[in-house]
Amino acid sequence: MLDHEPSLPVAQAKVMNRKLSIEIYGQLMYGKMINRTVSIDGGLKSNPHFEEVLNNFDHYRNLYDLIGYELVMRDGFAFIRTSDGTDAKDDLARNIQGLLLVLFRGTLELGFTMDVLLNDSAGLSNNHIEEIGKGEDKVEVLIACGMKSGVLMEHIKKLETRAIAYRNGKGNLVLSESGAAFFNDLIGEGDLEV
């Protein structure tokens, strides 16, 4: 820790869980989101990693700050972003956001409401995802957003790998808190900022 940083109280450092901390490091370095809930055996459970970050957020923030990352905590999820925002990093954000927008638009076109993607008991089946991916406009957008193949089904796995979406008990695709945040940002877009 740098000299000018205020040292953390010993009591706070004591409650940090070493095992969880190592696992969190592994997930964050792998570019994964840490969501409030996690799907285990087809049911949603509270995520111990998220609780750990939430309870010791100041400490973790300093920790990741020292090694060049910004630990971001939003409503229901946490992730790290590189402090020196370079184009390469934003290309990644573009890919994911473009992919999600394709998914959202396709879902509405099929006649569903967004609840199907936001509700753990529902979810979008592989058949529906394939149906969405057949749209020519969807393929064009995927390619323009940097996804070479333009096959939606292949790229959906990226969302699962990064914990932006998960498969529920029925095997359907559901957005996690971090995926839902993009939807909420879209809904809040254009509102007056207080």
Partner: protein, 473 residues
Amino acid sequence: MVVKTDVALINMIQNKGVFLDLIDHMDKVGEGEEVRIVMYQQKLRALLDSVAPLPNTRVLREVPAERRKLESALCIENLERVGLVIQVDSARGVMVFAPFVIEMFRHFDGARLRHLNSADYELIRASFNRLYEVFITLPSLNREDIGFQEQVSVLRKEIRTATAKMKECVDALQGRLQRLGEIVDQMRYDVIDEVAKAQEALGEINSIYLRNILPALQFLGEHTDLKRTKPALTALTCIGDQLAHYGHDKLASSVYYSVESIRSYRHDISIISGSLMRYVQQSEAHRRAYDKIEQAWNRLYEGVRELHDGSLKDNILPSTHPVFARLNTYSGLKMRVFEAKVEWPDANQRLALAEHLRTTLPNIKISSGKIHQLSGQTNESGELKRRRDARLLAIGILVEEWEPRLTDDAHVAMHEHLKDRLKGYELTDLLMSVGWLRKREGICLIPRYQIGNLATDCESLRYYKLQVETEHA
């Protein structure tokens, strides 16, 4: 065959499903009381087939009696003959049931009762206002006056009608909303048909809220500011006041009770409105989500289409494109590759040498080989280099011996230290010594941006001054 009214009615009631469906359709398409003849005949045929299907051989005699009886009772010609259908317009293909028939079926199911809309409320309000005008302009409010008696009779009738309609409306709203609410609440989000039904139900709830609930609340409001006229309940209260003023206390009391009775429906309507709000907000949230996603998609797709300029290159939207300016949920998200974020210090030759010696020295074995003296001419250049290296080493040792202290001029300090200790000292040696000093651990040389001068008997040196700082300082 003519079938009497009562028998026909009993048959209709026994098969009320057909007529309730017709009422639903009427309410849905909003064509008033008209029913399409084709639709009625289709439903009747389906009913007859379910009651007694036709045999395969189509001979009149073989038609089941039960089917013939039902068909005779419910066929359009018979219903028109006995007055249960009041109009058949073959040119337009529609027919109209007698109003009491429709009302009767509506009463079988609260959800199908007619809701009052703003036009109905306006009629009630206008009638109360008209009666108020009549009561304040009547020349005499005497009990024996026939004109007064007639107006009182009309007043009672209007109040009864208004109360009955309000009750019917509240029952209808409660029943209808319960049915629609069940459709929405029991919807499975991942079944398209159910989602479509729920969307339809939400649309209807929204329409009921705007067309029935809000006008009802407005009708029951007593402080609404209306041009030239009064709100319905205010008009009724004024009539009561007028009657009380002329000594008709009992009559006035009954009017006041009626006002309270109608006013009590405000509570019911408010409760319905409250429970409705959840669905209205849900519908609003769906609409908003749809709009926002559509906007974002259109912006993105427009950006994509602009890339299709035939150049067949650069068909990828840059992340700096304005389309993505507002989408920054994941900006800066980490790549899934290992990044060496820790910045290691620059290579330090001294440390590298120390590390090299630490690892290699223990492995060096002292050779037992013979030492041979090379004969012949001495190598002058080698000898010169050896001497220079020896002098350089001697300067290094002297610099190591120098006791570090804070001083403003490293050159002067080294000059003072070396001039008496180093044999044949020259100012060139001073430059070497400063070089050694720079590498010495625990000492830091900081430029002072001043020029200094040093001179011996035969040499002179101009140099930039360096301040000596130790790490302990």
